[in-house]
């Protein structure tokens, strides 16, 4: 059976050149980077090279890059590390309503520790108004964290404008760029970003390698205490092969970024154009200012998980923000925040393309998906509209 992987925002296959680069560090150069003899020095050199490559992708200095195990760790480190470092100055943090769980739940944890958190609303495209951010700032605000690009609706935030507001008020600005870094250009200098989270597997690097960029001179409290790795900011013997892979992946992402975008974007546009030909399908997120490989919709009268299962039966792999497809059985808060009513959010479906996606893949998708929607609508009691929705309230026994 033909398989078409359209869930690149979940993760990506590793690039062959990246794997090649990593392999010697499993066996041949297995040394501990802290050891002072040859194998240790080899590993140390490899990590420092990866740090340069990673820094270069976002126009940072190598010493501003701290390697972590995941994007979630980088986000936790940023939010909790800055909050604790700055708590004598103030205990107010601003985030948005469309943050990843690793930012959101870090902020919620801090609330329990006596911090005050403001959750900024977004408009129908998922944009945060810089004026609203300005108004939310108090003399207690020590950190602002806004996601760069939403993995759920694809919208790329106008981060430069938001970071400018933070800079004007002298407040530290973090962005979760896990979905965007390596996929679209980022320049932390030009964009005035103080901290930025990124993960290698989002740009064809390995899982288990990620980074937090921390602007030089920024005080931060570690999450993990121990040895002097990562300048004492993140203890633990380094995952050398994964870090080497991240560096190589960053190098390739920088080199091939425009080529990748030029390949993915027209295919994505074709997918959107065809999918919107199906009746009662709505594009979520901004139509233009979105990740190049990202297409997200709500399909009325059907449910997301059912669509995913039928797509998977045809070899097409995708994602959904519907309540039924989540383990927590809750509709995605991102969809709720952009004003999608709960019954429509049930029809959420997200397709994300990658380097390996071909025109044939998209043709196959465009043939298959409308059939799946019409099959599920045949089964649905709402095939003629949302009849009886006016008195809708939750009656399902939980």
């Amino acid at each position: 059976m033909k398989t078409v992987y359209l869930d690149h925002v979940a993760t990506n296959p590793i690039h062959p050149e990246v794997l090649e680069e990593m392999l010697p560090y499993f066996k041949e150069h297995f040394g501990n980077p802290l050891s002072i003899y040859e194998p240790g020095l080899k590993a140390r050199e490899a990590i420092e090279k990866a740090r340069e490559q990673t820094a270069s992708l976002i126009n940072a200095k190598p010493k501003e890059i701290i390697f972590t195990s995941s994007g979630a760790e980088a986000n936790n480190f940023a939010i909790r590390g800055i909050a604790y470092a700055m708590q004598n100055k103030g205990k107010h943090i601003i985030i948005s309503k469309i943050e990843h769980h690793s930012v959101l739940n870090s902020a919620r944890f801090l609330e329990k520790q006596g911090f005050v958190v403001t959750y900024l609303p977004v408009d129908k495209y998922g944009f945060i108004d810089p004026e609203a951010l300005k108004k939310a700032i108090t003399d207690q605000t020590v950190l602002i964290s806004i996601i760069h690009a939403s993995p759920e609706i694809g919208t790329i935030q106008n981060i430069e404008a938001l970071a400018r507001v933070a800079k004007e008020r002298g407040i530290i600005f973090h962005t979760d760029a896990v979905a965007s870094a390596g996929n679209i250009p980022i320049d932390v200098q030009k964009m005035n970003i103080d901290l930025l989270s990124m993960a290698a597997h989002q740009f064809y690097g390995p899982k288990g390698a990620a980074a937090l960029y921390i602007r030089e001179g920024t005080r931060i409290v570690p999450l993990i205490y121990g040895g002097i790795q990562e300048g004492g900011r993140r203890a633990g013997t380094e995952n050398v092969p994964a870090i080497v892979g991240m560096g190589k992946a960053a190098e390739l992402a920088k080199r091939d970024m425009q080529k990748r975008i030029d390949h993915i974007k027209p295919l994505r546009d074709k997918l959107i154009e065809n999918t919107l030909k199906i009746e009662n399908v709505i594009l979520t997120g901004h139509p233009e200012q979105r990740l190049p490989g990202h297409a997200s919709f709500v399909v009325e009268y059907v449910e997301g998980e059912a669509m995913l299962l039928m797509l998977a039966a045809k070899g097409i792999y995708a994602a959904s923000g519907s309540a039924c497809s989540s383990k927590a059985l809750k509709a995605s808060p991102v969809l709720t925040s952009i004003g999608i009513p709960a019954h429509l959010a049930q029809g959420s479906v997200v397709f994300t393309l990658g380097e390996g996606t071909t025109a044939e893949d998209i043709d196959y998708f465009n043939e298959t998906f409308p059939q799946i929607v019409s099959r599920l609508r045949e089964i649905s009691p709402y095939q003629k509209g949302w009849e009886g929705m006016e008195d809708a309230s939750c009656t399902a026994k939980k």
Binding site: Y301, V302, E303, G304, E305, A306, L309, M310, A313, S322, A323, C324, S325, K327, L329, P341, A342, H343, Q346, E378, I379, S380, P381, Y382, Q383, W386, M389, A392, S393, C394, T395, A396, K397, K398
Partner: protein
Amino acid sequence: MYSKKVMEHFTNPRNVGEIPDADGIGTEGNPVCGDVMKVYIKVKDNKIVDAKFQTFGCGAAIAVSSMVTEMAKGKTLDEALKITRESIADALDGLPPQKMHCSNLGAEALHKAIEDYKKKHGK
């Protein structure tokens, strides 16, 4: 995640559609919180002679609907009232725990259809 039987009923659901002259109709659930099942029954001599469904929901919800209509057909009303969430889940070789409650509305929808029939026919 799902048993083979669930996937089989989801992929080839039995008894999909409306019964235009149904003797009883029962709806359970709500799209705001999850799944909605609408069950139609045709009754003759106190027996369910036909059952159909329309469902908005996940894979489990569709498989449950297919199974409950299969189980109901040929049963007397009293026998059909004994169909439970558990007996439907068992017939499907089990459901994931988180789907047991929100997507397993088939028994309730069927029982509502039977009540509807009884009300309409003064029983």
